[in-house]
Amino acid sequence: MSFLDVTLKLLSGFQDTLLLFFFTLLLALPLGLVFTFGTMSKWKPLSFVTRGFVYIIRGTPLLLQLMVVVYIPGIVFNSPLVRWPIFAGNTNAAYFAGALFAFVINYACYFSEIYRGGIESISQGQYEAGQVLGMTKSQIFFRIVLLQVIKRIMAPVANETITLVKDTALAATVNVYEIYFMSREILNSEFIIWPLFYSGAFYLIFNAGLTWLFRHIEKKLSYFRS
């Protein structure tokens, strides 16, 4: 296999890596906020259940969660994931969706804890200042607190996002044909090993872009101090 062939094959895998990455981020970032509201809820049963759920997800390996999502429907409920009508026989889509689901839940839990830390670090005075100015709870959250929280959580969120890029390789274990899977496949069929290490370059370049992006956002938010 020539360098070009390997690059093309790895790129086809990297496409899945990127899809998994972007969709996870897109869904987990807002879902994390929902979890945060759940854990911070004054209604005890809701906060108890959400906290428990977040604890379980954060306390178990993502690798295991991937297996649960992909195998439990068939083993326990006799309704194999790949046969769900929604996937219309497209098994690749089924595995991808299963992996995506596990990633979104897992990362939403991590994000929710980051959000919670951020929200709790905002001084009570900010809420009270909003209250005495006649603002509603949602106005206080969205107009006053949110941007300050975003600024504070930018660094940990950036960290988690970069981890996510690398974690996508775990999806290979549940048959998502992302770049790591592809490089393994080249090794197994062509018996050449360098593509395995070459695949690292794709992650590196992508993460360089992300690092730049986050630095840019942090700079944009540096106009105020809170």
Partner: protein
């Protein structure tokens, strides 16, 4: 008729009774200072009046009408409390400006959000925004910050921040402007500039309720002084009277320490 009246206010935190039956009233245009040592309940009283705490018992009246009744739990919903608050403004000890907004936006934010609730906002959007902005600039001029409109809170001094906070509280045209130890977080030389703004407001007959440790200010500016001790009003009266002729031993002790 009194513009504001508090009747028989009680407040407990756990087992600690912080307010044990507070009664007072104030007239329109009056400056009322509340003094007393820390832990006497003066800040809690101010927070109750601004609905940051809910009294366990008692009532507030505004212009003779019932504003709040602790016994009527149904009237304690977030939305009703929010409406009641609009009659009052509060300036905090720690300013609590919104760091991500400019000085001007800090002052404009609440009036803009409030204006959006009015039914004719959509029709006269531009005009209403213009009015709010003009009013905000006018207020900032009044507190001497017309040259800081586009600065962010982190770019100005503590004294300037507190003056912005005063303008922000005034922007909603409250019936009574409350201050919670507005100069305690400031250096003495900066305290002067904030007190000067407050004195000006007093001259313009702004109704003010001030919790303060600044005895000089209280004596010079206030019409009436309340001395709180251990959750009750220990002494209340004309400022000159209270300061020159304190009746209770506690007030005598307190004043001698504060000098």
């Amino acid at each position: 008729m009194a513009i504001f009246e508090a009747k028989n206010i009680y407040k407990k935190f756990g087992d600690t009774e912080v307010l044990k039956g507070i009664d007072f009233s104030m007239e329109k245009g009056e400056v009322l200072c509340i003094i007393g040592s820390s832990g006497s309940g003066k800040t809690t009283l101010l927070r109750c009046i601004n609905f940051l705490e809910t009294p366990d018992r008692g009532e507030f009246y505004l212009n003779g009408n019932l504003l709040f009744d602790a016994a009527d739990k149904k009237s304690h919903s977030d939305e009703e409390i929010r409406q009641k608050r609009l009659h009052l403004g509060l300036v905090f000890q720690s300013f609590n400006l919104f760091p991500q907004y400019t000085v001007l936006d800090n002052v404009c934010l609440a009036p803009l959000l409030l204006a959006k609730e009015s039914p004719d906002y959509k029709k006269n959007k531009k005009q209403i925004r213009e009015e709010i902005r003009a009013h905000a600039i006018e207020l900032l001029k009044k507190v001497g910050l017309e040259d800081k409109l586009d600065s962010y809170p982190c770019q100005i001094s503590g004294g300037q921040q507190q003056r912005v906070a005063i303008a922000r509280a005034l922007a909603l045209k409250p019936d009574i402007l409350c201050f919670d130890e507005p100069t305690s977080a400031l250096d003495p030389e900066i305290t002067v500039e904030v007190l000067a703004v407050m004195k000006n407001l007093a001259k313009e007959d702004t109704t003010m309720l001030v919790v303060t440790h600044e005895m000089g200010f209280a004596r010079e500016v206030s019409d009436k002084v309340i001395f709180m001790d251990n959750g009750v009003i220990a002494e209340m009266g004309d400022a000159e009277e209270v300061f020159t002729n304190p009746k209770s031993r506690r007030l005598q002790e307190f004043l001698s320490v504060m000098k």
